[in-house]
Amino acid sequence: MTYPVFTNGTVLPASDLNAIGLWLVKSQTVGSGVSSVTVTGAFSADYDNYRVVINGIGASASLGLKVQIGGATTSYFGNFNYVLYSASAYTFVPMNNASSWYVALSDVSAPSVATSFDLMQPFLSARTFYNGGYYGRGYTGQFGGAIETSSSYTSLTLFNESGTLTGGTISVYGYRK
């Protein structure tokens, strides 16, 4: 079907609306000098899978930007890598029963970090998976992994490995089932 173009006053048939594949669930601006930022009510039975987009984040120290899903503090598995824009050798960072996942490298300079990832099944009582890519502080890379539990989560928390975060936006979108 052709993508619908909406205009003011147009009748919106359910068939067009129900074909919208991605829906903004929640968007949160990051405050100034916060040690962590939690987005509550991000995941629910409305969707099985989500897209998380984070940009404009500044940090007090150039380290790793990390995420915790719900109250999970262990069982994060996966791998995160980075390569400098002018280089060709990747560095791989295993996450082997870690307490959180990496989602980017943070930047103490003018914020130059953007990351996005798919988050699969966070609300279901099943493994939660993530995979995505980022660009930050001149480095790019990919990441993927799973939380090896069968717990259900409704929130996510973003933090820098040390120090604080300032500015930027965290947006959570739901993929229509």
Binding site: Q28, T29, V30, G31, S32, G33, V34, S35, S36, V37, T38, V39, T40, S62, L63, G64, Q68, T73, Y82, L84, Y85, S86, T91, V93, A98, S99, S100, Y102, L105, R137, G138, Y139, F159, E161, S162, T164
Partner: protein, 56 residues
Amino acid sequence: MELLAFTATESKTMTEEKKPLLIQIDGEVREMTPEEVTAHEEMVASHQPLSVPDPE
């Protein structure tokens, strides 16, 4: 020459005041409770931070 004796009646140590940690939950930013501080410190202390050099 008479020596002047000085007796310290009060001493102060100049220390940098520790700033409170701020937590943001949705749109609310506030100081962490002691329990939240403990949990946060455990969260950031549980691994070695990435040491990635800044681009030249």
